[in-house]
């Protein structure tokens, strides 16, 4: 187990879940099977139990049946899906035997649920107070003023300041984090014994995520309710869970207390999941990606579900369904490795991670730095006018990007990090001239791009291309792969004749790891990861030097994310590509980037090499951002919780933009924007703390 210090080094968990007296079992699920109408099992024989005050995390990638499990518990399954067998007991009550009218009492009263997208789960035409009052009226016998005061109390409980006023506000007046708090308040209104949280923080920024997770932990401590947390994020699990169930293709394949699971994951899938997580320690070598994709929800199985992707699979795995095996240390696992040859168990428990991840960092060849930058950006500005009145007068500007300068050399990766709405995607699009910049200069390979004619610009198009976030939206559903790849070549006249083009297409598909035959298929026939490969092949078709990657992996599962990151890395080595990597995922940035720029409200607040910025952050915002990221190893610096949310870029605060949320705020911060402090040739920070 000593092979991997990063994962095993738990240390004192600073953000570990609260240890409270856990009482009797609240929820007991036994052999739950949920089927589609055509008898395909989408939740297959799931059993678990949750005790009072305990957090049970269901961990898994998308399409594994996590949400279907939760909806089965609430008996809120969509049409065409039904519970086939199994039993669900909430305390002593058999949920599946209840008639629908009694079930309505249970929903919200004893079991409540919060959903992923806070913006979609509140009714936009009702005030927040009315929506909470609705639940209160149903589940508590309160009338009139009592309800109003109870609403205020609930909002205060979930940490909404100025609650008496907020009660009368509409959802559009609240920010994303606040909406999720209101959702939690609504869920708590019925005083449930069990709270089901379906990816409660996935749609939120890291700093807001940290706030919401803390709120959930605190609430649990106060009310000692049980929490069923559904997530795909190992970091969130590490912070929140007491018990973890790992789901794969509709089954729980491993179940263990959190400490045990993180110390020695038993199932090959869980082991791989840990290995696929990117971090700085592994930036030298490829990630241990799991080949293939998560099977489609509802695929029929006759053998082990993971066998096709498992490197430890042998004949039996492809032949027989493994049974549930309880290990001595309290872990349960569904794998032939444990059921058939218990003697070999020890050898398999080892986490097959890279042998020496610390050494790898040093082995990394120091690439020579090329001094002539490929892309040079000087004080780039993108302002969107705010128009008002009949004459559409410009009354102000949203300063989405406000004076950003950067330079990228050939073969290097620059990462732009920041929360949503800070303008990082706008920078990417402004560089490509998809959005016309207001001012500044963009020099690409010695050519100025701003202010040149459309024809001149087209000549430069080939050099710089973009990979988009959502592989489902970035490919035209009506075009076949070959047509998709050909489009750029046609537009920029890359290949002369059609033979040459077809040859190039075959070559590209091979390069990104797809079969040649796939070029005559339509995008909807591919999975998310494969689509992202197609999108990468599309930009490679025009031989670019710089790729702007706009969160290319954020819509993908962890195991697939690793595949794409590996691909990007190997392409960089083969083709000497430069990347501008726009992301909010710091782990990915740590793994891939050479330089990191931290952006806040349209401006760069800190820049430097990846070690400088992520190991020794100097700006309070960078520090807060780093500490908010839930880490699976629990190590990290002191937690800095940011109050409030990012202000609107149309009215940035006077002085330092960050002063309203900063813990080290001084009088000076409120007046002047801090100048640049040079800490090292590469490390620069805009902060008054360092100005002195």
């Amino acid at each position: 187990m000593k092979s991997n210090p990063t994962i095993n080094q738990f240390g004192p968990l600073l953000q570990s879940p609260p240890e409270i007296g856990r009482g009797e079992v609240i929820l007991n699920v036994n052999g739950l099977v949920t089927r589609l109408n055509n008898d395909v099992r989408i939740v297959d024989d799931v059993s678990f139990s949750i005790k009072q005050g305990e957090t049970f995390a269901l961990l898994g990638e998308s399409g594994c049946g996590k949400s279907m499990t939760a909806l089965s518990l609430m008996r809120l399954l969509p049409d065409g899906i039904r519970i086939a067998s199994g039993d669900i007991k909430l305390e002593k009550e058999d949920i599946l035997a209840l008639p629908e009218y009694a079930m309505r009492e249970v929903r919200g009263g004893q079991m409540a649920m919060i959903f992923q997208e806070p913006g979609l789960s509140l009714n936009p035409v009702m005030t927040v107070g009315d929506q909470i009052a609705e639940t209160l009226k149903l589940h508590q016998e309160l009338r009139g003023d009592e309800i109003r005061s109870q609403c205020v109390e609930l909002l205060e409980l979930v940490g909404i300041s100025d609650a008496p006023r907020r009660v009368y506000e509409y959802p559009f007046q609240l920010s994303g984090g606040m909406k999720q708090r209101v959702m939690i308040a609504m869920a708590l209104a019925g005083q449930p014994k069990l709270l089901i949280a379906d990816e409660p923080t996935t749609a939120l920024d890291v700093t807001i995520q940290a706030q919401v997770l803390k709120l959930l932990r605190d609430t649990q401590q106060k009310t000692s309710m049980a929490l069923l947390l559904i997530t795909h994020d190992l970091g969130v699990v590490a912070q929140m869970a007491h018990q973890v169930g790992v789901m794969y293709a509709g089954q729980i394949i491993e179940q263990a207390p959190r400490e045990k699971l993180f110390a020695c994951p038993a199932h090959p899938y869980t082991q791989k999941l840990f290995a696929a997580l990117p971090d700085a320690g592994r930036s030298g070598q490829p990630l241990a990606a799991i080949p293939g994709n998560v099977p489609q929800l509802g695929t029929p199985f006759t053998a082990c579900r993971f066998a096709p992707r498992c490197d430890k699979a042998w004949a039996l795995c492809h032949d027989k369904v493994p049974v549930w095996t309880q290990l001595e240390n309290g872990q349960g696992v569904r794998c032939h490795l444990y059921s058939s040859q218990m003697g070999n168990e020890k050898s398999n428990l080892k986490v097959p991670l890279s042998p020496d991840s610390c050494a790898a960092g040093k082995e990394k060849p120091e690439e020579e730095r090329i001094d002539t930058p490929l892309l040079q950006v000087e004080s780039l500005q993108v302002h969107f006018p705010i128009r008002k009145g009949i004459f559409q007068r410009t009354v102000g500007h949203v300063k989405a990007v406000d004076g950003v300068s950067m330079s990228i050399s050939a073969g290097r990766t620059l990462a732009l990090v920041g929360e949503s709405g800070c303008g990082k995607t706008t920078v990417g699009k402004a560089l490509l001239q998809l959005i016309t910049p207001t001012a500044g200069s963009v020099r690409f390979a010695g050519h100025e791009l701003i202010g040149i004619s459309a024809r001149e610009l087209r000549k430069q198009r080939a050099g710089m291309q973009m990979i988009f976030q959502d592989p489902y939206a970035s490919l035209n559903p009506k075009m076949r792969v070959a047509e998709v790849l050909q489009e750029g070549m046609d537009a920029l006249s890359i290949a002369k004749n059609s033979d040459e083009r077809q040859r190039r297409i075959d070559e590209l598909l091979e390069q990104v790891g797809l079969e040649k035959a796939s070029k005559w298929r339509y995008p909807h026939e591919f999975s998310g990861g494969q689509r992202q490969r197609i999108a990468i092949a599309r930009v490679l078709a025009v031989n670019p030097n710089l790729l702007i990657c706009d969160e290319p992996t954020s819509a993908l599962d962890v195991s697939v994310q690793a595949q794409i990151l590996n691909l990007l890395k190997s392409l960089q080595q083969q083709l000497k590509l430069s990347y501008l990597f726009v992301s909010h995922n710091l782990a990915v940035v740590e793994y891939l980037a050479h330089d990191v720029y931290v952006m806040y409200l349209g401006r760069i607040v800190e820049r430097g090499t990846v070690e400088e910025v992520l190991r020794t952050p100097k700006h309070p915002y960078t520090q807060a951002l780093l500490s908010a990221v839930p880490r699976i190893d629990g190590q990290g610096m002191k937690t800095i919780r940011l109050a409030g949310e990012t202000p609107s870029p149309s009215h940035p605060p006077q002085g330092c933009h960050f002063h309203a949320r900063c813990a080290h705020v001084m009088a000076e911060c409120r007046e002047v924007y801090p100048g640049e402090s040079i800490l090292s040739p590469t490390h620069r920070v805009h902060c008054h703390l360092l100005g002195k």
Binding site: L297, M466, A473, S474, E487, L492, R538
Partner: protein, 481 residues
Amino acid sequence: MPVILWTDAMIFLLLATVISAVLWVRKRPHLVLPWQRLAKSSMGMVSLLILSLFVLVGLLDTMHYREALPEKSNGQTVYSAEVLSVFDALAKDIKNRNEKTYSAPLAAYLYAKESIETPDGKIRRDYPRLRYGGAHLVDPQSELLGDVLKRTMIGALEGLSIAILLIVAGNWLIFFVKLRTARTSAGQEIRKSNNLIFTFARLIKNKPSRALLITALLMAILLGITVNLAAVYHVLGTDKVGQDVLYLALKSIRTGLVIGTVTTLVMLPFALLLGIAAGYLRGWVDDVIQYLYTVLSSIPSVLLIAAAVLMMQVYIEMHPEWFETAAARADLRLLFLCLILGVTSWTGLCRLLRGETLKLREMEYIQAAQAFGVSSPRILTRHIVPNVMHIVLIAVVMDFSSLVLAEAVLSYVGVGVDPSTMSFGTLINSARLEMGREPMVWWTLTAAFGFMLVLVLSANLFADAVRDAFDPRLNRTEAAA
């Protein structure tokens, strides 16, 4: 001599477009998918069957010609001034058997009493016998009911047996085609008898085809009865000048179809081009197009249509030398009505397409194309148009029925088609005055109402089925499973 009127040309153009679209779609699996879904909906298929009967009548009525007259002048063939259609030729009997005036459906007597001179010289006021309707009966008073029932039974049986014969023959045909392909591909010997029954049994088990089968049988029975009765009676009675109402109603189908489809042909280019251009290009283009359709849709369309049609009418009457036949003149007016309707009705679809394009232009694949420097016209044709096509299709099918109704309303008001053109609107208009008469003449209105109801209802149901088949939200579960 074949005659191709303007609207005929339009219909043939439309038919060619539809056929080539079908051939084009067949090769593209993602486009075939929604149609396969449509084929699984019994409602959609049944309404399609009924619609296709209407279309068949309309198409037969579209193939026009002028008959050669028997006498020749200077060795040259002289053609009759009357333009006939293939349908007219088929329905020659009912077309030519004109009575004197009103007669009720399946009657042997006129609807009004007249003074008849009896052989012995006395003048008697009574209901005179019809010239054609029930003329074969000696004593209609006692024989009529029996004869009608007999003919109904015979007609039903004939229709049923012909339908069954056709279905069995069709089944055999399909079976042998399948057998051949199976033999050539797999080289297996398949036992015929077992498989023939098997194919048929599977057809019955399949829900949409069972519904289709039942509808086809019912239709065949109805057709058989109608044909049998129409041979000697006026099934839907006669109108004021003694024309058979069934014939008039069947002739009206073409007018309805022309209005419903040709108008779409006129409207589509406006809606598609302007809507997409406004949504994609934004800026002043968007402003201009928005102003245009806001202004256009705020003018009461009946007024606009009335003004345009009246102007056209005056213009036509000032130039009678332009037209060889009366049919050509009436046809031009019909075409012009389509144009006017098209010009006034594109705004709804245009607005819809603009909205969809606004959404699409923010899609990442459009931005990827922009990053490649792909030109705007190319982005519009390659990326935007294919992705709004489903909306166009749904809107077109939905608009069809409202246009058929609009024609009826306009003709009723008097600004619709030429009075000599048979249409549901003119039918209703002529029946209007007779509603107040005692005893009431109800059959003209009922016939127009019934035919229009069936046509529009089946079009609407078909539109519903199309919409469902193309709606990604309704078909998500299918994709997941």
